[in-house]
């Protein structure tokens, strides 16, 4: 204790200790991978998941029908959801009480329901109750739009409220009406703020679009999941699932990268 020079030698610096902990973590990870690789039956895995013959038979339909339909369904739902979300957000911020109550009701309802339930009600419930059969694209647009719109409404509302009040006041001071000030000044700034969470919502909707299977699809209406399941059963093999998984990643990974770029950029601007 009296010899001060000895103490630092015995103790590890915090940085060294952190490095050691990290090496231990890496070692555990490597060990895990090695053990899994040793006990796995590679021949069986290749046969069940990675059968090139089967995979090649999926093309070009997996792209031209399934991937295309997933993108179309998602885009329809997202666009409608975005418009609906904007309307709901503006209603929630309105000074008119009934507008606020209605939009709060819609938001709470569709945020609270599983997307599957919304698909079932729209796709199967409406034809029974009212004798209207919407067809696939309108159903998926409505269902994804309602679910996505309810979430996006809250995001958009937060974005609008994050725009400094002085922006709105400056716009009104220049003689703009309330609507003009919102459209030209406030909403464009709000969307810049909320672009990352909106893109995340798009990723979620991409996956939710698979729920359309509950209303029954003809072959050329298959989206990725339905296509994968159909072929999985037909071939009694999991390769189609691996293929469609890669297709989903083809959509979602670039979106994630875009979000991360935007977040890094807005972080720098601040």
């Amino acid at each position: 204790m009296t010899d001060a020079a000895v103490v630092p030698k015995k103790r590890m610096s915090p940085r060294k200790r952190a490095a050691l902990v990290r090496y231990i973590q890496y070692a555990i990870l490597v060990l895990l991978v090695v053990v899994l690789a040793l006990i796995a039956d590679w021949g069986e895995i290749r046969r069940a998941f990675l059968d090139i013959d089967i995979a090649s038979q999926l093309f070009p339909d997996v792209i031209l029908i399934a991937l295309k339909n997933t993108i179309v369904y998602t885009a329809c739902g997202f666009v409608f959801g975005l418009a609906l979300g904007l309307v709901l957000a503006l209603m929630r911020l309105s000074s008119v009480g009934p507008y606020r109550w209605i939009s709060t009701g819609i938001i709470e309802l569709f945020r609270g329901l599983p997307a599957l339930v919304v698909f079932l009600v729209l796709g199967l419930g409406l034809p029974i109750a009212f004798g209207v059969n919407l067809g696939n694209i309108p159903t998926v647009t409505l269902a994804l739009g309602l679910v996505g719109g309810a979430y996006m409404a809250e995001t958009i509302r937060a974005g609008i409220q994050a725009v400094p009040k002085g922006q709105y006041e400056a716009a009104r001071t220049l003689g703009m009406t309330h609507t003009r000030a919102m459209v030209t000044i406030v909403i464009p700034q709000a969307f810049r703020i909320i672009l990352p969470p909106l893109t995340n919502e798009l990723i979620l909707l991409t996956k939710d679009s698979s729920l359309i299977y509950v209303i029954g699809l003809s072959l050329d209406e298959y989206e990725l999941t339905a296509f994968g399941r159909e072929n999985m059963n037909a071939f009694a093999n999991l390769t189609p699932m691996v293929t469609i998984a890669l297709c989903y990643l083809l959509i979602t990974v670039p979106l994630s990268i875009v979000v991360r770029r935007m977040e890094a950029k807005s972080g720098k601007a601040r």
Partner: protein, 255 residues
């Protein structure tokens, strides 16, 4: 209270801003307690007073950014406190400059100056651009036309904000502490622009802590405290020879 007849500028024209018995409450808090006040055409009026005395609230009532609780405000003889008044048309005629600039960050300096000309005054693109460029030049920032606000200094942003207000060809300008958010070395440029404006005969109501600006440029100085106008008159009188104890105390603190 010194009467405004003593100010020489009152002879230049009739009152363009005429505030009568103005009261403003925020909840139970009475912030303006019966303000009577007017500005003649071409007059520069500086409003001074301690923090929380209601200066900003008074200024914001003049273009109805705050709704007066009671009282009458006439602008150019038109009663703007009338529920049927054309508030948007009125605001387009009154320029306002904020302490925090409030430039639109998603638009270039030039676009900041043209957007309301096009959307509110319905001026054509070419005309708006020409007016915008003239006003940018006037505030000495022609070379910053394509810059976004984030790339401008505070002083430059405030001058763009003044140019933006001027581009609407306003009859009068309201300034709420336009230099208070600026680094000291940037204050001069903004004040110089305001002095030019005053020299051109613009009607101006300026809330400010810049006593030298008030002394040099103002036709009338108004001292507010606790939601009332305590004293008003020529700058030499109010700043140089205050009659009220509260004015003396305030000036002793800021001068």
């Amino acid at each position: 209270m010194t009467q405004t007849e003593t100010t020489p500028a009152a002879e230049r024209g009739a009152a363009v801003i005429d505030v009568q018995n103005l009261h403003k409450y925020f909840g139970d808090n009475e912030v303006l307690k019966g303000i009577d006040f007017h500005i003649a055409r071409g007059e520069v009026v500086c409003v001074i007073g301690p923090s929380g005395s209601g200066k900003s609230t008074l200024l914001r009532c003049v273009n109805l950014l705050e709704e007066p609780t009671s009282g009458t405000i006439l602008v150019d003889g038109e009663e703007i406190t009338d529920p049927d008044a054309d508030v948007d048309g009125l605001r387009a005629r009154i320029g306002m400059v904020f302490q925090q600039f409030n430039l639109f960050p998603h638009m270039t300096a030039l676009r900041n100056l043209t957007v309301a000309q096009e959307k509110v005054l319905k001026r054509g693109k070419a005309e708006s651009l020409e007016i915008a460029r003239t006003n940018l030049e006037k505030v000495g920032l022609s070379d910053k036309a394509d810059a976004y606000p984030a790339h401008l200094s505070g002083g430059q942003q405030q001058r763009v904000a003044i140019a933006r207000a001027l581009s609407m060809s306003p009859d009068m300008m309201l300034f709420d502490e336009p230099t208070s958010a600026l680094d000291p070395e940037l204050v001069g440029d903004v004040l110089a622009v305001m002095k030019d404006l005053a020299a051109e005969g613009m009607t101006m109501m300026v809330v400010t802590h810049e006593m030298s600006f008030a002394r040099e440029v103002a036709d009338k100085v108004v001292f507010m405290d606790g939601g009332v106008i305590v004293e008003e008159g020529l700058p030499a009188d109010v700043l140089g020879d205050p009659q009220h104890e509260r004015t003396k105390e305030f000036l002793a603190r800021v001068l």
